[in-house]
Amino acid sequence: MEQALEAHRLHFAFTITFHYIFPQLTMGLALLIVYLKTKALRTGDEHYNRAARFWARIFGINFALGVVTGIPMEFQFGTNWAEFSKTAGGVIGQTLAMEGVFSFFLESSFLGLFLFGEKKLGRIGHWCAAFLVFLGSWLSGYFIVATDAWMQHPVGYSIGPRGEIFLSSFWGLLLNPWALAQYAHTMLGAVQTGCFVMAGIGAFYLLTKRDEAYGRTFVRAGVIVGAIAACLQLFPTGDIQGKQISQNQPATLAAMEGLFETQEGAPLVILGQPDVQHRRLDNPLEVPKMLSFLTYKKWAANVKGLDNFPQDQWPDQIALLYYSYHVMVGLGTVFIAVMVLAVFLLWRRKLYESRWMLWLLMISIPLPYIANTAGWMTAELGRQPWLIYGLMRTAHGVSPRVGAGNVMFTLIGFMGMYTVLAILFLFLVWREIEIGPEPRSGKSRVLPEDAIEPSTAD
């Protein structure tokens, strides 16, 4: 049973981590594409339409992979987490079904029109299609975050006679305060992925001295939007989330911060390796009293350490949780520095010539992916040992009849398949970058404007 539990957890963790590579870019990019289309509409400059078409191609590849890797996520609630689904399906099924009904239909219908129908729709119609794709993908994000937020901080429910959890307040579920803060934080993370990718590829064009007009557009859009998102990521959204965790999941906060002992004037740990067995932090590099201040706005405030909680309520992966959190926060700080510096150079009209800054932007492309993944790991590992915080333990949520051998079988299947998908993905995206935004005859077969376009016979 223990072995099956670990396999089920790894199965979900692996498939969702891989899945989230794609939506974080499509959600971020959707916003930036709407920005480019708006520019095109307002200036009438075809340059921005071509820029939007280039990103639509990258978007298309990401979207397709997001769809095919997303379907397994919904299925796995039933296949691997049957007890959880049986108990809580009446609540979280609501948000998951709403995602299908409200966002997937919107997204998939208008993505077809956005990718294939530019000529037919006209300028304003095509802008609308881009906007509706953006709306659909951001709505989708909300329903998923609301689902997770309910597992982090269950609200609006009642417990039935056989232990099943019923929904008792629809708006309570949808407007869960945890969901609002988590959504803002998650979407800003996605926007930063979009911005770093756009700015990074723009920097690549400038550094290789090709398509430089597009390179400047991409870098400019990426760093301006990116700087705003990076700052908002820390404050207020990160700050609010931190407070919510300190109030509702105090054991999680202690584990995230590597705080084994309750302290007044607790320090903020910058670096150090948690030694869970001996309940201490090795090689600590700390800012004195900072944690107390950040959490309670008082230098001497008392912060509860892990010693304050029974060990069976500790998150079971303290070291991994601690590192995930520190990687997320560390990278978030780096993003603010990089983006604000880039905007400063842009303002001084030096950005496009500062090769070191362009290099920095280009090699930063993978970092927001790591930060977003680390952020989700912080949230999900931090929720442990609970599947629904305070209501249901993770160990009690798995499918009772699906054994470790079968889970291992499908996990290996997914690993193999996703490895192939990852290689294909990198290959195809690289090809689009190589082809570039300028319409060149005969290179790409999927320029949206020219793609196989069903049209009326007459």
Binding site: I61, A64, L65, V67, V68, I71, P72, E74, F75, F77, G78, T79, A82, E83, K86, G89, G90, V91, G93, Q94, L96, A97, M98, G100, V101, F102, F104, F105, L106, S108, S109, F110, L111, G112, L113, F116, G117, E164, F166, L167, S399, P400, R401, V402, N406, G413, F414, L421, L424, L428, G442, R445, D450, A451, I452, P454, S455, T456, A457, D458
Partner: protein, 349 residues
């Protein structure tokens, strides 16, 4: 309330079968009816802008099933663990094949994706049919409300059933034939030239297979699932569903002879709807019949809380009106036959 949701989930599944059915069918016949690269692009273009939206019906139906009947979702999905995972892999293969094929023009790139697209579509049709067969036949649920079916045991209908036995394989083959016809009629309607003609011929051939298959499967089904007999006896008006299926099947033949491509496709829709509705009508009030009838999951034992179901009805109705709007707009935008002009998308050739 639970009966309303039973009907709504059935409706969504039926819409999924009708819509994704034609693009699955188009995939299954892809290698047969389209020989050249240009012809294959025609088939893909006929489903290109809509297949993703069609597949969303599976997700939306799954999500709706999840919140309305969580007990069924948990029990059914974990019990069908292995085949569902394989369905997921096939859906991944199929989606990537459609999306990636046209990115590169090469003698080793397109054929690979064409083959994967065709074989994954074909297998999905069989899997979905077998899944339906499993539900009608009943699964080895026990007092805990769970079961786990291996892929196969001895291919017989005992207590220790597997996903595949002679009956479910039969239903799988019938489903494949039905979707081949459905897809052929769609491709016939949406394309012109040799692709359309070959599709019409294939639809004609599969029609005979379906007539035989429907007769055999129906006869077997009445033997295997006693609830179906009981329901048709209790509510004779239910015979309109099998009648619709028969009328649809006759309509396909008639429209094919008259060369009315649109009507032929619509008649095929009627056939599929009639067949599915007959099954749904036949198993009600069960949502997952068990081999031992006392363990069957019913609409009552599987449903979610009343408040959730009531509030769900409101947003579901709003969402469906919106979705119907998008689909009408989308299909109208891409109405008419697919035109593939090779010169327009590859100027270098």
């Amino acid at each position: 309330m639970e009966t309303i949701w039973f009907c709504l989930v059935a409706l969504m599944i039926a819409l999924y079968v009708l819509l994704d059915g034609f693009d699955l069918g188009a995939g299954a016949i892809h290698l047969l009816v389209a020989k050249t690269d240009q012809e294959r692009r025609q088939v893909l273009a006929s489903i290109g802008p809509v297949w993703d939206g069609n597949e969303v019906w599976l997700l939306a139906a799954g999500g709706t099933l999840y919140f309305a009947f969580p007990v069924l979702y948990a029990s059914g999905f974990s019990g069908f663990y292995l085949p569902l995972m394989m369905v997921l892999w096939l859906l991944i293969l199929r989606g990537t094949s459609i999306e990636f094929r046209n990115h590169i023009k090469s003698a080793v790139w397109d054929p690979l994706w064409d083959f994967l697209f065709c074989s994954s579509s074909l297998l999905l049709a069989v899997f979905f049919g077998a899944a339906l067969g499993n539900i009608v036949r009943g699964v080895p649920l026990d007092a805990t409300g769970y079961f786990f079916e291996p892929l196969w045991t001895n291919f017989r209908l005992g207590d220790e059933t597997g996903i595949l036995d002679w009956y479910t394989i039969l239903v799988g083959v019938l489903a494949l034939a039905a979707l081949v016809m459905h897809g052929s009629l769609w491709v016939q309607w949406k394309t012109a030239g040799p692709v359309s003609e070959r599709s019409a011929r294939l639809a004609g051939h599969s029609w005979w297979a379906i007539v035989v298959g429907t007769a055999v499967v129906s006869a077997a089904t009445f033997q295997i699932q006693p609830q179906i007999n009981a329901n048709f006896k209790a509510w004779p008006w239910g015979f309109i569903f099998p009648a619709l299926a028969v009328a649809g099947l006759a309509g396909v033949k008639y429209a094919l002879a008259k060369r009315d491509q649109r009507k032929a496709f619509l008649a095929s829709c009627a056939y599929l709807t009639g067949m599915l509705a007959s099954v749904v009508f036949g198993v009600y009030p069960m949502v997952l019949p068990a081999r031992h009838p006392e363990y069957s999951l019913t609409v009552l034992s599987a449903k979610a809380g009343l408040y959730g179901l009531q509030i769900g009805l409101i947003w579901w109705a709003i969402g469906m009106v919106l979705a119907a709007g998008y689909f009408t707009y989308l299909y109208r935008s891409f109405a008419g036959k697919v035109a593939v002009d090779t010169n327009s998308h590859d100027p270098s050739e």
